[in-house]
Symmetry: D2
Subunit: 316 residues, 4 copies
C-alpha cells in the first residue's frame, strides 16, 4: 500500500513505459533468475486466460488437473480467451497431476474429432495446498515438452511453495509462461505475467489491449511487486502464512486430508459441523473434493489461529 501511494506521485508515461513498471520487471527477473518479458494485470483469471490462449489454438486443448482453478472456477475464461479451446482434466492426489495420466493422454493419437493437447498447465502450490518439488514438476514437464506442448505455470501461490520449490527452477525447467500472484500474496489486485519465451511475447501488448487487460496506468499494478520484492516480504509473508497453517493443523480436531505443505489445510467435516462453524461466525468453503478449506495469510496471527481452533473444537 505504501508503494502504491508512492507510485501516485509525479507524472509518468502511461501503458507500462514508466519507471515503476520497469523496476518491478527487474525485480521479478532477479527473483526468478531469468530473462523474461513481464506484464502486470489486475486479474488472476485474466492473467491465466490470456497466457493459456497464447499456448493453444481453439481446436486444441490444455491439460491440467481435473480440479484446477482454471478449469472449474473461472466461468470458462480460458475457453473464452482461447476462442473455444478444450480443457482436459487429469487426476492426481492433492491437486498434483499423476504423471501416468498425463503420459497416457499424450500417447493418444491426434484425431480430427477431438481437441488434442497443445499445452500443460501446472499450479504450484496446488488447489489443495500441495507443493510440486522440482523433481515432481520435471516428471510432468519433460514428457509434455517432448510431445511439443507449451508449459504454463499458475503461480498464484508460488511464494507459498517455497522452500519446497525454488521459484528459480521454473525457468530452468522450461516453463514458457508463469503467472506470479500478487493478490493472494497480500497485494492489492495484481498479477505478474512472466513470458520466458520471447517469441510468445510478440505483439503481446496488442493481445492484452484486445482483451481489455492493458492497463493505462501500469505503475499501480507494478508498485506492490516493487514493495514486496525489494524487502523480501513476498517470501517472508508466505513463510509466515505457511507456519500459521502448520500451527492450525496441529490444533485441528477435524482430520487433515492432505500433508500441510503451504498456507492452507483441508479437513473432513460433516455438514452439521460445517453449519455450526458458520453459525459461530467463521466462513470457510467446501471444496470440489468435499473437504473444507482453511487458508492462512500474511496477516494471520497466533491469536487468530487459537481463536479459530477454539471455534473448531466447539463445532466438532
Amino acid at each position: 500500500m505504501e508503494a502504491l501511494v508512492r507510485a501516485n506521485t509525479g507524472f509518468e508515461p502511461s501503458y507500462g513505459k514508466d519507471s515503476v513498471t520497469a523496476r518491478a520487471g527487474d525485480l521479478i527477473r532477479q527473483f526468478l533468475d531469468a530473462d523474461a518479458e513481464v506484464r502486470f494485470l489486475g486479474s488472476g483469471t485474466a492473467a491465466n486466460a490470456v497466457t493459456l490462449a497464447a499456448l493453444c489454438r481453439p481446436f486444441e486443448a490444455i491439460c491440467c488437473h481435473e480440479h484446477a482453478h482454471i478449469r472449474l472456477d473461472e466461468a470458462g475464461a480460458p475457453v473464452f480467451y482461447g476462442g473455444g479451446l478444450g480443457m482436459i482434466g487429469l487426476p492426481g492426489a492433492a491437486g498434483l497431476i499423476d504423471p501416468a495420466a498425463l503420459i497416457e493422454t499424450l500417447a493418444m493419437s491426434d484425431g480430427a474429432s477431438v481437441q488434442s493437447p497443445a499445452a500443460l498447465s501446472l499450479t504450484n502450490t496446488t488447489e489443495y495446498g500441495a507443493v510440486y518439488t522440482e523433481a515432481a514438476m520435471r516428471a510432468l514437464i519433460e514428457p509434455a515438452k517432448a510431445a511439443g506442448l507449451g508449459i504454463h505455470l499458475d503461480g498464484a501461490r508460488l511464494a507459498n511453495a517455497s522452500p519446497l520449490f525454488d521459484p528459480k527452477a521454473a525457468a530452468r525447467m522450461g516453463v514458457d509462461i508463469l503467472v506470479l500472484g500478487g493478490a493472494k500474496a497480500g497485494m492489492t489486485p495484481t498479477e505478474a505475467v512472466v513470458i520466458f519465451d520471447r517469441e510468445l511475447a510478440r505483439r503481446f501488448d496488442a493481445r492484452l489491449k484486445q482483451t481489455g487487460q492493458l492497463p493505462s496506468k501500469s505503475r499501480f499494478l507494478a508498485a506492490p511487486f516493487v514493495g514486496m520484492l525489494e524487502d523480501g516480504a513476498l517470501i517472508r509473508h508466505a513463510q509466515h502464512a505457511n507456519a500459521m497453517a502448520r500451527k492450525l493443523a496441529a490444533l485441528s480436531p477435524f482430520p487433515i486430508r492432505y500433508a500441510v505443505q503451504s498456507n492452507a489445510i483441508f479437513v473432513d467435516m460433516d455438514e452439521a459441523a460445517h453449519a455450526r462453524l458458520h453459525s459461530s461466525g467463521w466462513r470457510v468453503d467446501r471444496m470440489w473434493d468435499d473437504t473444507v478449506r482453511f487458508v492462512c495469510s500474511w496477516a494471520t496471527t497466533d491469536e487468530t489461529i487459537e481463536e479459530f481452533a477454539a471455534g473448531l473444537r466447539s463445532a466438532a
Copy 2:
C-alpha cells in the same frame, strides 16, 4: 440421388429461395406437424453447433449426456460456435440422461464463477441406440423449461426412434430447435435445421452466413429430403435398419449391453476378439463406454447380417 439429379435441371434462384428448398420445408413441417423455419446444412456438426450457439451465451452452458456426440466427438464445435460456452455432461444409462441428475444440476444456484445452464440438448435415438419415449423426454424437458432453458434435439437418427418416439411429439413438447438428420438416414450429406421458435430464427441466415453454413445452392441439400419424405422412405428405411439390428442382435455371440431399440447394437468384446474381427475385414469401432458398436443402415441386407454374424462367431 435421383432427387439430387432432378434438382440440377433448370435455373433456380440461389440462397434458399428456390422451389426445391421450399418444397422440402413444407414436407418437413408436415412430417413434424408444426410450423417452423427450416434450413438445410451440409454438416451435422455445424447444424448442432450453430443451433446450440443460438440457445446459449458464452458464459453459460449446455446440459447434455456425458457421452453426447456434441460433447465428445465434434472437436469442440459447439464451444467454438458458442464463443466459449460450457458443456455439462450428465450421466444416465444407454445415453439417456438421468432426470435426477438434470434436476440436481438445475438446482445448483447461479454462481459468477461457473457457467450455468442455459439449454438442454437431447439426442434421440441416443449414442447407444436407446430411444426416449415421449414420456421420458417430457421428464427432462419440463424441469428444464421451468428453469428457463432452451431445448435442443439432436435428431441425426430421429427416424430410427420411430415408432417408439413419434417425430410429431417434438413440437408439442416444446423443443425449440431440432436437427433432423439426412446423412445418417442414407442421404448425401445434408441436415435440416428446424426452428420452432420464430424469435430464435431472427437473422438466422446471417448467423449461417457468418459461420460458413449458408449454402448458395440450397436445393442440392434440400432435394434428398424431398425424395425421402415424399414417398415415406425416411421412416421406411429406418424401420428396415432397425429390423436388421434386431436380427443381428439375435445372432450375436457377444453379449448385448443395451436393449436394441433402433439400428445399432452394442456388445461387450475383448480386444483379442476385436482384433480378430478387424483382421477378417470387418471394421467396427469401440465406443466411449468400451462397447463395440454395429450399425445397420437402409442398405443392410439379410445376407450381410448373416455374413457378419458368421464373422462374429469366428472372432468369438
Copy 3:
C-alpha cells in the same frame, strides 16, 4: 487516493459484496437519478467491450462514429468480446454522428451477407471534445430504438460534458448501458458499468468472470467513485479541466478546429511545428483527423497553461 487507502482497512467480503462497492453504487444511481445495476472494472477498454457484447450478437453490428475509440483504438476489443461482431463507422463533424447517416444505415434491409445493426454506441464527450446535448442525442437514440437497437453510452469523459449535457438525461432517454469513466476523471484505473436494463444484467457477473473482469477486491475500484461523488469532485474537477481548455484555446497560436466544449482542444499544426513542440519537451498526439490534441485535467494549473502556451508560440 484517500478513499482508496480507507478502503484498505478492515476485512470485507470479496467479489463486490462489500460496503464500499454498495456505497459507490448508491452514489452513482443518485448521480444519474436512475435505478441500475452497477459494476466496477479496472479497464475502460474492457468496460466498453463487455457491454457492447451484451447488446450485439456475433453476426450483428454496432453503429458508432467512424473515429470512435471503440472502433479505432482498442485493438478490436469489442469484436473479440463480441465473438466477431461488426462495427459500422458513421460520419459526422467533431465525433458527433450525423443523424442522416444513422437513419440511412438503419434503412438498409437486413441481408444474410452483412452484419446488420443491433446497437448504437455514442460517446459523450466525443473523441474530438464535442458535447451531445440531450436533443442531439435524442435525434440518434430515437430512430435507433425504433429500429430495435440497444443503446450504449461511452461516458469515459461524461463529467466533462456537463453542464451542456446533464448526466441524468441518459436514463430518461433510454440508454441501456453506460460506462462512466473514472480513470480519465483523475481516479486510479476504474470505470463504472451502469446497466439500466435489468434483463441485460442477468448473469452479468459470470460474463465479467469469464472475461477476466470480475475483481475479487471490488472495493479498490469502487472507492475512488465514493471519494469523488461524495464531495462533488467528479463534476468540479471536470469543470476545472474544461475552464483550462478554454483558457488554452484563447492563447493558442494554432487554429482551433472544433468548438471547445470540454477539456480538450484540437489544432491544425504542421509536422515541423509538431516536431519543434516535441523537441521542446511537450508530448502531444496527432489524431485520426490529423489534428493535434491538447487535453487538460483536474490537475492542470493556470501556470501550466501559460507555460504550454509559451511553448506553442515558440513552436509556431
Copy 4:
C-alpha cells in the same frame, strides 16, 4: 454431375480417406504443379474463413482490397472464424490492391492499440473481373512476405484468370494457402483448400471439424474436381465464359467501367434503366462501386448473350 453419381457407387471409407478424394488431390497438385495438402469444403465462405484464421491471430489483421468479398459480403465470417481478427481494406482500381497502399500500411509501426497486419489476402480474378498478372501479384506478395505476412489467395474464379495468370504461379510466388473455386466454375457446391505450407496443415482436420467443415463424405465434394480436371473442363469452361463476356461487352449499350479480362462485365447504369431491365425479367446486381454486373458462365450461350444484349438495348 456424372462424376458425382459415379462417386455414389460402392462403399468407401469416410472423412476424406477415400479414393475419389485422393484422386482429386492428385489432380489439383498436378494442376498447380506443387506439393500441397488438399481438403474439400462445401462452402466458399467457410473455405476463406477457415484459412484466413490459420494465418492471423485475433489481435492481428488481414490486409485485403476494400471491396474484397471476404470483407464485405460474408457477414464477418473471417472475423468470426478468426476469433475477432481485423480486416484492413486497401484501395485500388478494379479490385486490384494498389501496391503503394499496401506498402504504406506495412510501414506503420506495430502498436498495442491497433490490429497489425499478419496476412495478405488476394483475389484473382478480382471482384471486378480484373486479373492480377504474375508480376502484379509479385509486387504485393514480396513486400508482404518481407514483413512476415502469410499469403492467402481467394481463387473462387482462378480458372477465369487464365491465360493472363498461370495457376502454377501461385506456389512459386509463395502463396501459403489457396482456395480453388468449384461452385463458381459450374460444379455443385465445393471448394478446394490447398495448403502449400505443411506446417500450417498441422491438425487442420481438427480445425475443420471444430468449424463444422470436415465432411463425412468427402468424395461428394471431391468428385466434381475429378470430373472437371481430368478432361480439362475447368479451364475450358472458364475460357468459354470469358469469351461470352467479351462478346457481351462488345454489344453493351452501357459504358463498360473496367477492362474485360474474365467472365464478368461491369457497366454504369442509372437506376431507371436498372429498373427497366429488372422488370423485363433480367436480374442483375449493383455492386459496391455502383456499377451493375453481368456474369457469364460455362453454360452461357451465344443466343443468351444476344437475347440479353437486346434486353440491354431496350432498357437503355
